[in-house]
Subunit: 417 residues, 2 copies
């Protein structure tokens, strides 16, 4: 029987008694159990790790996020490949609610560090998804070095994002060779996953930056209630949804490139500081005209219900209801000419030393090509009234490969295999 | 009918339609409803705000925290008193699941900023508690100024904490004239509460520092499962519990001082960076000998179950089972000679620029006197093996007055009234 964290925890309550009585303190007798198939009960709230697509993209957005970007600090291709394989094994386990290392590996050897850091013991899978991405610098460093012999496999679409008007990008919290997006309904489960992956990578990768998100700001499924962002508005009402496969095929999934990226997607991350204190002083009319929606119901201005279509021809008292400088107007597919799958989270990183909360949106979006996705949308936001209230401070782009299809497959097998 | 956020939200779905159709965009027709009594249904997961004691101290620890420390930037005593009264009104509302400002106050005036920032609309009370504390600098500034005429009311017990061996305190995230501890089971509800209180205080107070906690690390009720901290160990097994009123009276609640603090408690906050990468490289035996408990079950070394008493006489193979340099040994009431009510939360604030997670414990504890509480415990931890793995980076102490007893009472009425 392979034990889930929950089962293991149960076993520990009984099994540890004997061990502790001996003073040995093996941290659970359950670790000696033989591996077998995970029971369905253990995975009740588990999201399947295996599949043609990576989980964590169109998976209904979980409530919490821990996102981490790594620098690869080895030049050894084989070591990097082994790391990706080890990571895959650990990710497969943790998304099922197990600990990061195989149960029984240390066989009660108290002179070895534990295989797992332990803080998620007793917690269920909590819908954990782990999604990996490869940054442009993995293929070619800033000075052009091809460390891993994969420069010729860099997709044309995977290039650093251009600068945008108003950018205040801090390079120390931008970019990265690898990223892992951990989403879960329990933050402890997401943090545990990132920490254990970082631990497995000691000496090979170094945490470049990481970001916790406490509240999702988009729905990625029609079954989800639209959440509110820190401006107090419903966000993501018209987001792409898992239930729109044809639209996702067009805008989110890579296809027809005859490369290792077919079935994958490109991830853009932007940390967006929101000047909430400034925003909170604006009157309701200004706020609504800036967003283009009603604050209470989330309805597009000039409409009645949240899910009423945005109609750019509706007039109110001689003016267009949705102003051409509003965020909804400029971001809408009708005017941006494209669509992206948003998957952002709110953050509060304490305060900024000037008496204000350091808060905002950690914006994540997936698209089949950043140039015709985020870049095109962001360029169209040049005249967005919302720009007065936000500052982009971090930026990154990653190529997220297709899914791991089974126990013999691993993250990056298409790229390195 | 006074509307809860949940009720209000429901009303908005219907009411906003008419308003939006007019283009007015009043953000919900429900705002015009007349105040009345909150229905029980609205407060299903609400914690009562009124009482002889402040909520948020022995209240079963909620899962999430937003803690904020303010500098008072006015010297006007009357303005400060009005702020405390306004805060009390808003806290009373928000802990019931309502928005921060009275429904109907702006009467649909779209040329006024909304009374509430909106991001908690539609969310239940989520067990929100708001607990206020007064710092030593409120009574007398660093240069000795008595801004508000209350220097003679400063309790003898409310003095800055002494330094401790190994302290790495950053003054910019320490101290403060006022603090508010917001605990809730939904982080959006806690963040919303702090933000709206900060907003009400614009021009009178300035956010000095704030801290988000994502996972509680202590139980304050016998009904709660003991959570794990970021060292992977169960934390707070032997914490004081709400079910021990006599012990709380002795160690937590102030009494017999014949002052405005009778019925209150002193709060000590310490931000404790945990060097998790270093810790994770230690073997299981070292980790357990450092803590004094078994990692799996949480049992004291030499015992069988988590809740078995810590027995300092038990021997294993000729040695004492719980080493005299272990955290449990030194912190235990038997050896520290005192007890405190812990109420800490785990944090991850991104990474530290050196490839490590900036993670740890935001330690909060309540006691009837800091000198015989936290200070005495912390002094006894001088030889704690755990000190190798932690760094205290922030420190503060606050006097938390007794509870607000009814609609006419307010935070600080005993001190300022």
């Amino acid at each position: 029987m392979k034990l889930s964290r929950r089962d293991f925890f149960g076993a520990a309550g009984v099994g540890a008694a004997g061990a502790a009585a001996l003073g040995a303190g093996s941290w659970a007798a359950g670790r000696d159990a033989e591996p077998a198939t995970v029971t369905a009960a253990a995975g009740q709230d588990a999201v399947e790790f295996h599949g043609d697509r990576q989980a964590g993209i169109v998976t209904p957005a979980q409530d919490r996020l821990h996102f981490v970007s790594f620098d690869v600090i080895t030049d050894d291709r084989d070591a990097l490949v082994r790391l990706l394989q080890d990571w895959t094994t650990a990710a497969r386990r943790m998304t099922r609610g197990q600990d990061a290392g195989p149960v029984g590996a240390v066989q009660g050897n108290e002179y070895a560090p534990p295989d797992d850091t332990g803080e998620a013991l007793g917690l269920p899978p909590a819908g954990l998804t782990l999604t990996i991405g490869f940054g442009p610098t993995l293929f070619r460093t800033a000075d052009g070095t091809d460390r891993f012999g994969i420069a010729d496999r860099q997709p044309a679409a995977l290039v650093e994002l251009p600068g945008f008007a108003g950018d205040l990008i801090d390079p120390t919290i931008s970019g990265g060779d690898l990223c892992i997006q951990a989403c879960a309904d329990d933050p402890q489960v997401a943090v545990h996953a990132v920490r254990n992956l970082a631990r497995i990578g000691v000496g090979l990768v170094s945490v470049r930056w990481s970001q916790l998100g406490f509240g999702r700001t988009s729905s990625t499924s029609s079954d989800q209630v639209t959440p509110r962002n820190l401006f107090g508005f419903k966000d993501g009402t018209d987001n792409l949804k898992a239930e729109q496969p044809a639209t996702l095929d067009r805008f989110v999934w890579v296809s027809g490139t005859d490369s290792w990226m077919d079935g994958g997607s490109y991830l853009v991350s932007r940390k967006i500081r929101m000047l909430v204190e400034v925003w909170d002083r604006q009157n309701l009319r200004d706020q609504q005209q800036t967003i283009g929606r009603t604050k209470g119901s989330g309805a597009p201005l000039g409409q009645r219900g949240e899910f009423d279509p945005v109609d750019f021809t509706t007039q109110v008292e001689g003016d267009v209801a949705v102003p051409p400088t509003s965020h909804v107007f400029l971001a809408h597919p009708t005017n941006s000419g494209t669509a992206i799958l948003r998957r952002g989270y709110s953050f509060v990183d304490g305060s900024d030393g000037l008496g204000r909360l350091d808060a905002g949106l950690f914006f994540l979006c997936y698209q089949s090509d950043p140039e015709t996705g985020f870049v095109q949308v962001q360029r169209n936001l040049r005249t967005d009234k919302l720009n007065e209230y936000v500052q982009h401070t971090s930026s990154a782009v990653f190529a997220c490969p297709p899914g791991v299809t089974g126990d013999d497959d691993w993250w990056g097998s298409g790229l390195f295999g």
